[in-house]
């Protein structure tokens, strides 16, 4: 009799506890086959791979379509036009030059061209061809591959965790 009470009490408690418990799905183990697809290898050290987020990846696509011909030493078609120009255009990963320029300045020089910003007229304006959003993506890509790496100015320190 006594044991039956105790058993019932125990069972009820256990049931109540169990039903309240969350049932977690088995989390999928990290799949070795799955690796990031949007990446850029460092231009001087191919072993060093930079992962790109969505915005940077869009910038990479635009860069290799429009800018690579003058702002890189190797292009998809072989020889670069860069060495052919005076003044020599900056390499896109040239952090020493580009890290000190603000996003607004780079946005302007792409949209308005070199002559509007007091630089060489050889840099044509792309403001009527690329949208402001596309230019922002290009800047994001520039920042991602900069060597030495780019440090955004005055980023608010973030100690928040998700929980």
């Amino acid at each position: 009799m006594k044991t039956r009470f105790w058993t019932m009490a125990f069972l009820l408690t256990a049931f109540a506890l169990a039903s309240g418990c969350q049932k977690h799905a088995d989390s999928t183990k990290a799949d070795l086959l799955l690796r990031a697809y949007d990446i850029e290898a460092d231009w001087t050290d191919a072993q060093h791979i930079t992962p790109l987020n969505y915005r940077q990846a869009q910038g990479k696509r635009l860069f290799y379509q429009y800018c690579v011909w003058c702002h890189a030493d190797a292009t998809p078609a072989g020889p670069s036009n860069r060495s052919n120009l005076t003044p020599v255009p900056a390499l896109l990963n040239d952090g020493a030059t580009l890290n000190t320029e603000s996003d607004e300045y780079i946005q302007n020089i792409i949209a308005l061209g070199g002559s509007a910003m007091g630089k060489s007229a050889m840099m044509p304006p792309y403001g009527r061809m690329l949208s402001a959003d596309e230019i922002r993506s290009l800047i994001a890509f520039t920042r991602a591959i900069a060597q030495p790496p780019y440090q955004p100015p005055g980023r608010p320190g973030s100690q928040y965790s998700a929980k």
Binding site: A16, G20, A77, P79, R128, S158, S161, A162
Partner: protein, 713 residues
């Protein structure tokens, strides 16, 4: 039990009741506690704390509400509660990578989350309110979140026409087309060419039984540990179209016996003029002369050869046609002559153009191919094969159907089995429980299944008939993405209305032009109104761009216009008449409405305009950064030395006003020239005329493989 006994509960019994009621109270208290501790409520509170610590608190909390947030779009089957935790998804100020998840803003895309929901693209369980249930598979909800590196698949589900923003889907679809996956599988939206693999009706006249045996056994030869494929021992950047079938020696003997007896169309006999042979036989330089001619005719535009540079051997050249390094040991010499003279006589749907050959050229080039492009060891690993026996031929015929050869290769009189492989048109929507994993040690989800199946078909199904392909990591991802786009018919009509269909394009003109156009296979490399290849400039509006006299000159003797591009237009040895037919049609039909010749009068251009134009070109706009005039200038745009003979004034004016209106993907930026500046620049460019017929350069085959990628026109 009597009433007295009922009233007299023992002390012990009272204790039991007391304890159990406390226990029950405690159990009841668990419920509100657990409710308070719910995962999504924790995220809600943590977002509140997070927002309060930021300078723009007010804006971040403008639409904060402590309850579950839900996007409900009945037409699209969307009930998404993702924004309950992902609360900053539309807050532009939370785009920074330093913002902790799940509060970070979504990167900017053309679709607004409130109009589309989340699961339309990301998959996962919209109604779930727990992290694990929302993102992973559960027994009830099987569709896990799509890993972001395949996210372009979701764009491709509706956008069946290729988008510039989704290069991975485009690449994947190209691979599905190129590797003839639609030979065995139903793949909606993947182009099915008229000819998948070569027609084998007369393959016995082309190659020996031994060569067929070797090819079937190891079409691709070697793969190194990095996954680089080698063709005939040379490293290749592309996967050869023919996959590897897992065949036994008996099957190899049977198939090679069957195929080597296929001689449906006898070879036309052609004797090269004896005087030509006699004259050249005295010349020891024969092969090098043939090599020069081979290069001058730009065979490397479509075919690659192994070239050793700085100790590294690589295949260099195009991949439209097969690789030819050892072709001299593969094909029979009589077949080669018949083929070069009339490729369509052997393969009706081949993209190889029909050249106008002189006996001398034909002899030189065939001698070069049969003596230089050879390898005496090519067939050294093939066992001694007897003349085919009747049982072998019969078995080979059966295997040809059973192994799925007939799905890609035509043999006259052989009817292929319909729908040889599974229908993949709804593969991307399958749940893990619909898939067979066999004993494969891989995570049970759709993405892993597709990748394992592509990587090694027998790993998930030991009885798989699918042959072995060899993918680079990025190609494997691209094909996986393209397959994930195929989710079958949209479940609701609202989703159906969102589908952006791929345009069916065709350009098969009739008449004299159509005949010449088809003979030279212009569409293999050039695009006409959306139809054709990507290798060479789009000619849809060539009639507005180029002057007729220039077109005739160019067709008869093509010259490069762009120094950075490897020039690849073959030397067709075109007759005056053919060139005139092409030029006439192009000038009259392939016109762009924006370039109006009547609106531009070249005679009105004055020397003052010309000098102003020259000044604008050189000083104000510095066009020389990309274009070459004289010996100086950039390599990006076309060389303008001969612009006055090449371009029409109407095209130059329309181009300067808005290049993208004429060629949408050109990289020349659209600028804000005034009307006067446009006229002056046009006047100046029209004065640029080079001497006609400059000396012809010899071909350089380097880099043509790389040059076809991403070069604007």
């Amino acid at each position: 039990m009597s009433a007295e006994q009922m009233g007299k509960l023992t002390y012990r019994m009272r204790l039991v009741f007391a304890v159990s009621s406390i226990v029950f109270l405690a159990v009841l208290a668990i419920s509100p506690f657990k409710d308070y501790r719910r995962e999504w409520k924790q995220y809600k509170r943590s977002y509140l704390r997070f927002a309060q610590g930021r300078p723009d608190t007010k804006k971040l909390l403008a639409d904060y509400n402590p309850n579950i947030d839900q996007i409900w779009l009945p037409g699209m089957n969307v009930v998404d509660r993702c924004t309950t935790c992902h609360q900053g998804i539309t807050q532009a100020t939370l785009a920074d990578n330093a913002v902790p998840e799940p509060f970070r803003a979504h990167p900017p895309i053309p679709h607004n989350v409130r109009d589309w929901g989340c699961t339309v693209c990301h998959r996962g369980q919209g109604p779930a309110t727990e992290v694990a249930e929302a993102h992973e598979s559960t027994l009830a909800w099987e569709q896990p979140v799509l890993p972001t590196r395949f996210i372009q698949a979701s764009c491709g589900t509706c956008h069946q026409a290729d988008l510039p923003q989704t290069p991975q889907v485009t690449r994947g679809r190209q691979l599905l087309t190129k590797l003839n996956c639609q030979g065995c599988h139903r793949l909606p939206g993947i182009d099915r060419p008229q000819m998948l693999g070569p027609d084998l009706s007369s393959v016995g006249t082309k190659v020996s039984r031994e060569w067929i045996y070797k090819w079937l056994k190891e079409p691709r030869t070697i793969v190194d540990k990095d996954g680089n494929a080698t063709v005939n021992g040379y490293e290749s950047q592309e996967e050869p179209r023919m996959p590897k079938f897992r065949l036994t020696d008996e099957e190899l003997r049977a198939l090679s016996a069957y195929l080597s007896t296929q001689k449906a169309r006898p070879l036309p006999t052609y004797k090269i003029d004896a005087r030509v042979v006699a004259a050249w036989n005295k010349n020891p330089e024969l092969a090098s002369q043939g090599e020069l001619r081979f290069r001058q005719m730009f065979c490397s535009t479509c075919h690659s050869l192994a070239v050793t540079r700085a100790g590294e051997t690589q295949l260099i050249g195009g991949d439209i046609g097969p690789e030819l390094t050892k072709v001299g040991s593969k094909v029979k010499p009589d077949w080669l002559i018949a083929w070069l003279r009339d490729p369509q006589g052997y393969l009706p749907h081949t993209r190889m153009p029909r050249y106008g050959w002189s006996d001398e050229d034909l002899y030189k080039v065939t001698q070069y191919i049969t003596t230089n492009l050879t390898d005496s060891d090519l067939l050294s690993n093939v066992p001694q094969l007897e003349p085919p026996s009747e049982p072998e031929i019969q078995l080979g015929r059966r295997l040809f159907l059973e192994k799925g050869c007939a799905s890609c290769h035509v043999i006259e009189g052989v009817t292929p089995q319909k729908d040889f492989g599974p229908d993949l048109s709804a593969l991307g929507a399958k749940n893990a429980s619909d898939l067979e994993f066999s004993n494969a040690k891989i995570p049970h989800n759709l993405v892993s299944y597709i990748q394992a199946k592509l990587h090694d078909p027998v790993s998930v199904n030991p009885a798989a008939r699918m042959p072995q392909y060899n993918w680079t990591a990025s190609d494997l991802d691209a094909v996986t993405t393209a397959l994930l786009t195929m989710k079958g018919p949209p479940p609701t009509s609202a989703l159906q209305n969102l589908v952006v269909q791929r345009k069916e394009v065709d350009f098969q003109p009739r008449g004299a032009f159509g005949e010449v156009y088809d003979r030279y296979k212009c569409y293999t490399c050039h695009k006409f109104n959306g139809f054709g290849g990507d290798l060479a400039p789009d000619l849809s509006y060539e009639g507005s761009r180029a002057q007729r006299s220039w077109l005739v000159q160019f067709l008869k003797n093509p010259q490069t216009l762009r120094p950075t591009l490897t020039f690849r237009m073959p030397q067709f040895n075109m007759s005056e008449k053919d060139a005139a037919i092409l030029a006439d049609y192009i000038t009259m039909v392939l016109q762009h409405p924006a370039a109006n010749p009547a609106a531009v009068n070249v005679k009105q251009f004055t020397p003052a305009m010309v000098s102003l134009g020259k000044q604008l070109y050189e000083v104000k706009y510095q066009c020389q950064s990309c274009h070459t005039i004289g010996g100086t200038g950039g390599y990006v745009g076309p060389n303008l030395n001969n612009a006055g003979n090449w371009l029409t004034a109407a095209w130059i004016e329309a181009w300067l006003q808005n290049p993208q209106a004429l060629v949408p993907d050109t990289i020349e930026p659209r600028r804000t020239f005034t009307g006067e500046e446009v006229q002056a620049l046009t006047a100046y460019l029209m004065t640029l005329r080079a001497a006609t017929n400059p000396p012809q350069k010899t071909a350089d085959v380097t880099g043509s493989r790389r040059a076809d990628q991403g070069v604007g026109r």
